[in-house]
């Protein structure tokens, strides 16, 4: 019943994950699978595009919390873009903006990766 979809695409050396719909404890494993796939392929530079994400619970936020350190240990990162205000507010309530970079547009997040080489 939960409507969620995740898509992975490569933009240069960065992997972009598009998340759509509702990200909760039921759908979070689908996102975990994508992160596991990235680790298998040694892809550590990630942008998550939230443009079509309508809803997130802490189970969704937990996925980023569980993987970001591994990405950073390997000179990568998880950066966020195109987040709707209602979704951003949840990240904000839990203090994520101190530890993660949020960008209005996907290209800004991609450029940030480019600027650090």
């Amino acid at each position: 019943m939960a409507d969620f979809n995740v898509n992975l695409r490569g933009v240069g050396t960065v992997s972009v994950i598009d998340v759509r719909g509702y990200l909760d404890a039921h759908t979070a494993p689908e996102l975990e699978n994508v992160f596991n796939k990235l680790l298998d392929n040694q892809q550590f530079r990630v942008v998550v595009n939230f443009d079509e994400l309508k809803y997130i619970s802490s189970a969704g936020l937990g996925v980023f919390m569980a993987y970001v350190e591994t990405m950073r240990e390997n000179k990568g990162d998880i950066k966020f873009s195109n987040m709707k205000e209602n979704v951003y507010n949840i990240f904000d309530l839990l203090g994520f903006p101190i530890l993660y970079e949020f960008f209005k547009e996907e290209k800004e997040a991609l450029q940030k990766f480019d600027s650090v080489g």
Binding site: S58, Y67, L99
Partner: protein, 144 residues
């Protein structure tokens, strides 16, 4: 009509599976809307109920799909009172530490944020043990 005087009651019983979370959110949304909460506040109530039920599925029932979760909504005296009851493993909320995001990240943890989020979203969150070995969490949100 003065909404604060209106009495509203509704109840739903669901099994402890994560695929019921969407249904629980829909039910909560219509209850919050009927009680005249703004879209923004309804969003907070929906998320808090989702978090409470997720915790029950994950911790009280350890993902066993046969557990019962009873959710009752009541609107009175200008507030919505949501009582969520389960028959799973009891837990002591006092034992759950405030989340430390930096530490969680270093430990590569994916959980531990739900209870804290519920407290941030709602005006009151109370845990209790009922007779018959039931656990209950009561969430309260004021309309104003």
């Amino acid at each position: 009509m003065n909404i604060s005087k209106k009495i509203f009651e509704r109840e739903i019983l669901v099994k402890s599976t994560t695929d019921n979370l969407a249904l629980i959110r829909e039910f909560t949304k219509s209850a919050a809307e009927e009680c005249n909460f703004s879209e923004e506040t309804a969003g907070k109530i929906i998320l808090a109920v989702d978090e409470a039920c997720t915790n029950i599925i994950k911790h009280a029932y350890k993902y066993s799909p046969e557990g019962n979760i009873n959710i009752s909504f009541k609107f009175e005296s200008g507030k919505i009172i949501i009582s969520i009851t389960d028959e799973g493993k009891h837990f002591d909320p006092a034992q759950i530490p405030e989340p430390d995001l930096i530490q969680f990240q270093e430990q590569k943890r994916s959980g531990g944020l739900g209870m804290f989020l519920m407290k941030k979203l709602m005006d009151e969150v109370k845990y209790s043990t009922l007779t018959g070995n039931k656990n209950q969490v009561v969430l309260v949100k004021y309309l104003s």
